[in-house]
Symmetry: C2
Subunit: 446 residues, 2 copies
């Protein structure tokens, strides 16, 4: 039953063009399972696998794929083959897919839609990229406060096929302003003739213009199955479902995690990705790092004279750059995460700096004492003093820079995760070395 | 409406002991929102805030807190004050909380339970820590294939108050073996007199002994609202709800992410955590790193003679350790993630090694050519050769070690994330330097 084993057999079957074996694996699967398997395959084998699905199953599986996988599949299969699949997508999933497609392909797909579907898609596309409005479902069931539980249940029965979320029903007033939410569970358990107003709960909702990522984090974190979305006048305009929220959070975290590890995220499953795909996901970052690391070579050249007089100083370079790089990336990943969940914002720069300076000083003091002792015992008192002082300064500098960098990135609208580990550690290497040699020159008088 | 603003006001109110202001923020909130706010506060202020809640709300909020936050709260409030809250917890949440508590406190809490609740808790506690069985809900509604939709809906109405998941109903045969699942949506939309067997879908299920983390990833990834859990005979024993799955995935990812950034996860919100708490979450790791970085000082000492003859070699140390450390952590974070989602297992060690050697060689060749050129232009041909060869070797070594280390960690039952970035980069620093000076000695003949 292991998912890894199934994936392996499917990949082997497709690699050997054993379509009967591949079909016998894919056809009995639930659409979500089949979609999850296909997503992990290399693009070529994925499209072969997709063609093996029965018509109905193919539509459901396409629906369950990530937007970027859908885009690659459209590229492999051609627009006409997927027109039917495109038609059954939810408006918000369609908008996400359109964002991934070249404009010409997107236009053709929109042209082929029914007028009604085209209009719903236009509602979602009307909100800016990255906003909640862009990811919400514009089709939903709502209730008025004086509707009875039975009426609302009937409405769920009648329209349950069209809308995506039926487990949370928003309750609104006559001008569509959001009053509360009632869960399907409460509707079922309530007296059928009772009005829903009194059983409605205070809503956890979002504004359509809010940023999608922190809102989705909130939805997932609270485990609520759907979040009403309102406009500036608090009028209900859509619903963010837990499904979509999970997708937003997951893809954002994958990207953050990969970038914190100086990679781009891999689209395929690791074992089935080509050497080329893996190398590509890593080499760009490594080049950026290597080019900036050449800076440190230049920095050191300035101090070549100092080094020649005191070769022992060279021995501590990896220790000091290690401490600086790690302190910086500790601070950067903490603040990047806090930004992602909306705990801090760029306007908190002073508070973050104040915190990180104190944390850096505390850690620097603790490590500096150890460094001082080790260097003193191994060499001489002056070298110990240089190392101790450098560690305190480097920790403070690295923590502060590391903490502020994600806020700067956010302000200039760059993904904060990009500035995390790789960038910070290289920056702290170069700056740390300058501090080191300046302290060394001052203390040793060379 | 910003959550960050609400959090700030609440923290300020509690800090200034302005309990009226704090109450006016907390009392109107939905339990999930209040729980999320309290989780982000420092423990002392959190318990003051918790005491402000009305009895009913306090129970619901306690229910929504993470197990570790609950444990801290019990510590602050005392066992008797929380006995009522403990009683209303779901059996699986109770098991998770018991894992966090000292044995004496746990025993007392269990003693105070009703016999029925104690029995349900015992079912969950019977499965090993970290298994799906430990996190599933042992209370659920099930249906037989020949039950009509109306019968099942009545059962949902009758027992909906007791069980956690009503949106997915497992369908079983007479010996309780799992046949399929039917969603509440389908039940509502179906002909009331039709049997549920034909509308049931193939189930996405888990075994109670499966590891909780990959199973939860699967549940969240597929966006299914509840996953039936079966024993070795495929008999239904419980249900893993999406709520619980999200909690498992989130806390596992928080830990992974923090450890990849050489930290322990922070329990409180960043801005409201004390300098001490932040320092503590980072300093242990930094000490481990510093102690291992002292190793690199020792490694370099062996080559002090070589360095004295060719000081230029020292200039490239940060560049080379940077490339080694980053290549290693790229590989390590990729494989750690693949392990977490179940894409690879320790038995794939040879395939992983084969992949990483090739990826490392490819990247090393690309970067090595650049390094060779830069060093040749800046110094001399021989130095260029040393740098180029070292980059190729270090990349290959670092990618292979980085890729294998998480598999080793998994095999010896250590969290693979612990071995990621911090450990790998220090290991690669030391090994990379040895390679560097050995190549330098050979090429330069010193």
């Amino acid at each position: 039953m292991s998912a890894a084993t199934t994936l392996r057999s499917l990949d082997d079957a497709l690699r050997e063009r054993d379509l009967t074996a591949a079909s016998s694996i894919l056809l009995p699967l639930a659409p979500q399972e089949a979609a999850a398997l296909l997503e992990q395959l290399a693009p070529r084998r994925r499209s072969i696998g997709f063609r093996l699905l029965a018509k109905e199953q193919a539509l459901a599986v396409f629906d369950d794929l990530d937007a970027d996988t859908q885009a690659v599949l459209i590229h492999e299969l051609g627009t006409t083959e997927v027109a039917a699949a495109f038609d059954i997508l939810e408006p918000e999933d369609r908008a996400a897919l359109l964002d991934e497609l070249p404009a010409s392909v997107a236009k053709q797909l929109i042209r082929d839609l029914s007028p009604e579907e085209r209009e719903l898609t236009a509602v979602v596309l009307g909100f800016p990229r990255g906003s909640v409005g862009r990811r919400m479902s514009p089709e939903f069931i709502h209730a008025f406060a004086d509707d009875t539980a039975a009426t609302v249940l009937d409405r769920v029965r009648a329209r349950g096929h069209e809308v995506q979320s039926i487990y949370i029903v928003p309750v609104v007033d006559r001008s569509r302003r959001l009053l509360g939410v009632v869960s399907l569970r409460d509707l079922l358990l309530a007296d059928p003739d009772a009005p829903v107003g009194p059983i409605a709960k205070p809503p956890i909702y979002a504004h359509a213009d809010d940023e999608a990522e922190p809102t989705a984090e909130r939805c997932v974190d609270r485990g609520i199955s759907a979040m009403p979305v309102v406009d500036a006048e608090k009028r209900l305009v859509g619903i963010l479902t837990l499904d979509d929220a999970i997708e937003i959070v997951d893809s954002a975290r994958d990207v953050d995690e990969a970038r914190a590890g100086a990679r781009e995220p891999l689209r395929e499953s690791y074992l089935y990705a080509s050497i080329f795909a893996i190398t590509r996901s890593r080499v760009v970052w490594l080049f950026v790092l290597a080019v900036s690391a050449i800076l440190t070579v230049n920095v050191l050249e300035i101090f070549e004279g100092t080094l020649e007089q005191k070769v022992a100083l060279a021995l501590f370079i990896p220790l000091l750059t290690g401490i600086g790089g790690n302190t910086g990336s500790q601070a950067a990943t903490t603040v990047t995460r806090a930004l992602a969940v909306g705990e801090v914002a760029p306007r908190d720069a002073f508070r973050v700096a104040g915190k990180e300076i104190r944390v850096g000083l505390t850690m620097g003091a603790a490590l500096g004492v150890v460094g001082f002792g080790v260097a003193w015992l191994a060499y001489e008192f002056e070298i110990g003093a240089v190392i101790g002082l450098t560690i305190v300064s480097v920790c403070t500098m690295a923590a502060t820079v590391g903490g502020l960098m994600p806020l700067v990135a956010k302000t200039i609208r760059v993904d904060p995760a990009v500035f995390s580990t790789p960038f910070i550690s290289t920056f702290c290497d170069a700056t740390g070395l300058i501090i080191y040699f300046m302290i060394a020159k001052a203390v040793l008088g060379i």
